[in-house]
């Protein structure tokens, strides 16, 4: 019976030109969004490739220069000498810490246009290299991108609502509802058939189009975890769509006119997609305000000044803690320590006194994220947004995973260069290969799946609640006023 009703509904639907037009529009938007996302991923890949090429070239030129300096055919100032460990660790030998785009990065640009995706790690303080923002007209960042996530979060619900705002009211207004119900069919069954067919059609269409889009855009399905991510994208997109279909049924169940339904549904869309997120943003910022970057700059500067002033004292203290690193005493030279040696102690001390300030930032931003994670269930749009970013690897989680690895690498980098700087161990050609390199380790797919499962549940629970509510409300539906 349900199937027969659905096939009838299908005929009904295909006779109407509006759904076809709407579906076409959605197809164009999805295709364009997927293409746009891939374009951004390719842009990032290109920037990464040129950074890697630059690094290779630079290291090769050290390898070429060192023998020439040793045999005296090339003269350089001590500051630019590629054999000096301080120089290698600060400029000539530095390496990039790169966050490669995740396999399905094209699905959502997310925060990836805002966060730097590669750093040139040096022996300097992390604040000097952790701010290389990508160039972009700020208005573009403000407007956001037309990517697949935008289509899914904003347009797809509107298309769904355009598809279903007059699901029952339309039939009632044209007088066909009474006619239909004169057959041995219950209203509940009729509505179920109508909504199942429409939802099935639109959701499947969107997913297929999205998949085609990213497949053409060059998603890498060979990478481990790609299929799991894809599966979750399908789940989230379906559940999010189901929510809006359920909402349309619920509003229709009140038996108001099509125009009234359209207004109420537009209002609900506004509430969930625009108003709730902006209110949540306020709550989050009020609860855990990010400390002032302006104050942070001053704090770092004061710390740096203090450390520089106490330079030689700091060095003495540093060497007391690390006696094995004491520079070899050159006979007859009791003069002041050189700049590079002092620098080691000064940056060590500066970073240590700045650390609490930076930790405060990290702590507040983590607290904001925690609150968002807990309160996102207030709006399915927020649940879907954070899930889509997470799937694409362009959200805060993967980025945090990356920066914590960069910080660890920075420590390792200093541990490699500082002792050499103090002991003045000159670099040889063979040493160049031993300079630490950064390799990004992807987060385990299990912990990603764990987070995403929560999001899927956060979408499905409202679907069930709204659906139950609608079928209760439908019992009191009056077919003829």
């Amino acid at each position: 019976m349900l199937l027969r009703l659905m096939s009838f509904e299908w005929r009904n639907l295909s006779a109407d030109r509006t759904p076809v037009a709407v579906a076409l529009l959605l197809a164009v938007a999805i295709g364009y969004g997927a293409w746009n996302g891939s374009r951004w991923v390719n842009f990032q890949k290109q920037a990464i490739a040129s950074a890697q090429a630059e690094e290779q070239e630079r290291l090769d030129s050290i390898r070429k220069d060192i023998p020439k300096i040793v045999d005296g055919s090339l003269k350089v100032s001590p500051f630019q000498d590629p054999r000096m460990p301080a120089t290698v660790g600060r400029s000539t030998g530095v390496r990039y810490a790169i966050l490669p785009p995740a396999p399905l990065a094209a699905l959502a640009i997310g925060q990836s246009d805002l966060y730097p995706y590669y750093f040139k790690v040096t022996t300097g303080s992390s604040q000097t290299f952790m701010t290389n923002d990508e160039i972009e007209h700020p208005v573009h960042l403000l407007a956001g991108r037309f990517d697949l996530a935008f289509v899914v979060l904003f347009l797809y619900p509107l298309v769904i609502l355009a598809f279903s705002y007059n699901l029952i009211s339309g039939e009632k207004e044209s007088g066909t509802l009474a006619l239909m119900l004169s057959q041995p069919v219950s209203l509940g069954k009729l509505v179920l058939a109508k909504i199942l067919l429409r939802a099935g059609f639109l959701i499947v269409l969107s997913i297929v189009l999205g998949l085609v889009g990213i497949a053409i855009g060059g998603a890498d399905f060979q990478v481990p975890g790609a299929l799991t991510r894809l599966l979750f994208w399908i789940l989230i997109t379906s559940a999010y769509g189901a929510f809006w279909f359920a909402l349309a049924v619920a509003v229709n169940a009140f038996g108001k006119s099509s125009a009234a339904n359209a207004i109420v549904l537009a209002g609900l869309w506004l509430l969930f997609v625009v108003v709730t997120p902006s209110l949540l943003n306020i709550v989050v910022e009020a609860a855990h305000p990010a400390p002032s970057r302006v104050e942070m700059i001053q704090a770092i500067r004061t710390a740096g000044d203090t450390a520089s002033r106490q330079g030689s004292q700091l060095l003495a203290r540093y060497l007391e803690d690390h006696p094995e690193l004491a520079p070899p005493q050159e006979a007859g030279k009791g003069g002041p320590p050189d700049f590079a040696t002092l620098q080691v102690a000064v940056s060590d001390a500066t970073d240590r006194s700045v650390k609490p300030v930076l930790d405060q930032f990290e702590g507040q931003i983590a607290a904001q994220q925690n609150l968002v994670d807990r309160l996102r269930y207030l709006s399915p749009a927020i649940v879907a947004q954070s899930a889509l970013n997470d799937i694409a690897g362009s959200g805060a989680q993967r980025y945090g995973h990356f920066t914590s690895q960069v910080n660890a690498f920075h420590v390792k980098w200093r541990e490699y260069f500082f002792p050499r700087t103090l002991k003045k161990e000159m670099f040889t050609v063979d040493d160049v290969a031993g300079i630490p390199a950064f390799v990004y380790r992807e987060e385990s797919i299990e912990s990603l799946a764990g987070r995403l499962a929560g999001s899927v549940a956060g979408l499905l629970v409202p679907v069930v609640v709204v659906a139950l509510f609608s079928f209760l409300a439908l019992r009191r539906f009056t077919v003829v006023n």
Binding site: A47, A51, E54, I135, H137, R145, A259, N281
Partner: protein
């Protein structure tokens, strides 16, 4: 007659629970956003004033140093927040707040506030601008989508036209009524906004803020005029209220959601900006090899040496009446300045071309023109950022000149040279004056023109559509 129609319209609107509820919501959100904006502004201003003071003190009290060390130490410039930004943050969250002014380098602004927020911010913030650009247009649609189609459906249109009301008066009356209802919401909001702005402005800022606020208001009024015209025209043309509503919501969506993103994408495709990596590479290679790539640094130095020796007619550097390091440092700065002028000039030209493309898209989506006018007069668009960046860079170059001049004159021939506090105080404090409304008007002229044309054409369309109104 017109007034009577308007009066009927207002009475009807005020009795409508839907309007009352949504107007109350919009007003509450607007008031809340203004309050938040004011608080945010007060906080940021206090922080910036303190930081400005402390960066100045650091500079003045750096003790005995070589002037070039002082130049490397540098100062920070903190971008001030204009008082009108409490209505419209514009791009403030997406541009850095501070720049380090040091020797040899025109640094980029660092720390975009959006980087310290969660991804929820990307849905859009609750600001006065968001309410005025997203929600008020929806309210207009809600107010007027059934202005004619609804009368037709109720059967009152036949009565109305049989009375011999001229279509012109009908349109005028309806638009007047709708505008009056809207103003009942907007006037108190504007009063509240002015209060917040004057509370946030220092006595010096208020004279600059007034004309800016007036132009911003004009922009919004033109936009709302256009929207009322479009809504009435669609309502008169549509076969039913339902169709009118769907069409208008579609227009709203394209105008408010799709157009800004589409404009960005088109602009990026037609006038791509370089990646940060390419940009840095261009600067590095121009620094090393000369702007055209055929003037390496070593050759520039030896040429400078020869020129100087010739100028003073001596044969050894030591015999020069000026300190060569100072001359050479300043020459390096001059070369750097030329490089930065060129690369930043090119980048900002690309951005300006991208903005021209945004404006072209705004021909079809007046919301974009409104966004541009609003954030520009709020002092929160890219032009204001660039204006500040240019002033900061001028200040940086001044510091370098003063330091290098001092080395040139006083460093002598040998031994380390240390300058004292008098030199640091020779550099005056960085005093930034934001541009006046006339400067903004020059840039926003086209956007205001687009809004005016939309307003006039939309109202004309409403008159035309009502003129051919059919009872059935």
């Amino acid at each position: 007659m017109i007034l009577r129609i308007a009066q009927k319209e207002i009475t009807e609107t005020l009795r409508d629970g839907r309007f009352r509820a949504s107007a109350a919501i919009v007003f509450t959100l607007l008031a809340a956003s203004l309050l938040l904006g004011w608080r945010h502004h007060a906080e940021v201003s206090a922080q910036h004033n303190a930081a400005r003071q402390s960066t100045r003190n650091q500079w003045l009290n750096q003790g005995k140093k070589n002037p070039h060390s002082a130049a490397h130490y540098g100062v920070y410039a903190f971008k001030p927040n204009s008082p009108l930004a409490l209505v419209d943050h514009g791009t403030n969250d997406y541009t850095g707040v501070a720049v380090w002014l040091e020797a040899h380098k025109q640094n980029e602004f660092k720390y975009r506030p959006a980087q310290d927020a969660t991804s929820v911010q990307r849905f859009g913030e609750l600001t006065g601008a968001a309410v005025l650009q997203l929600l008020v247009p929806l309210l207009i649609i809600l107010l007027a989508f059934d202005a004619f189609s609804g009368e037709r459906e109720l059967g009152t249109l036949r009565q109305l036209l049989s009375l011999g009301v001229k279509p012109g008066s009908l349109t005028a009356g309806k638009s007047l009524g709708i505008s009056a209802s809207l103003l009942m919401l907007l006037v108190p909001a504007a009063a509240l906004g002015s209060l917040a702005i004057s509370a946030a402005s220092s006595s010096g800022e208020i004279t600059g803020a007034l004309p800016r606020a007036a132009w911003m208001t004009l922009g919004y009024l033109l936009y709302y005029g256009a929207l009322i015209g479009v809504t009435l025209a669609v309502s008169a043309l549509a076969s039913s209220s339902r169709t009118a509503l769907i069409a208008l919501l579609g227009f709203w969506m394209l105008n408010a959601l799709v157009a800004p993103r589409a404009a960005s994408d088109i602009a990026k495709s037609l006038r791509p900006a370089p990646s940060a990596f390419e940009f840095a590479q261009t600067i590095e290679s121009a620094m090393k090899n000369g702007i055209d790539g055929h003037d390496p640094a070593a050759e520039r130095t030896s040429r400078l040496k020869q020129d100087l020796l010739k100028k003073y007619n001596v044969s050894r550097i030591e015999d020069l009446p000026v300190n060569f390091t100072g001359v050479s440092l300043q020459e390096g700065e001059n070369h750097g300045n030329a490089v930065y002028d060129r690369v930043f000039g090119q980048l900002w030209k690309t951005f300006a071309e991208q903005e021209t493309i945004h404006r072209t898209v705004a021909l079809f989506a007046p919301g974009l023109a409104t966004r541009s006018v609003s954030m520009a007069f709020a002092g929160a668009d890219f032009s204001h950022h660039a204006h500040f960046a240019t002033a900061a860079e001028e200040y940086r170059r001044g510091i370098q000149r003063t330091m290098n001049d001092d080395i040139m004159r006083n460093a002598g021939k040998s031994g380390p040279y240390l300058a004292a506090d008098e030199l640091w105080s020779k550099v005056s404090a960085f005093d930034y004056k934001s541009p006046d409304a006339g400067w903004v008007l020059q840039q926003q002229g086209p956007a205001l023109l687009i809004l005016s044309v939309w307003c006039v054409l939309a109202i004309a369309a409403a008159y035309w559509a009502v003129g051919r109104l059919r009872v059935f």
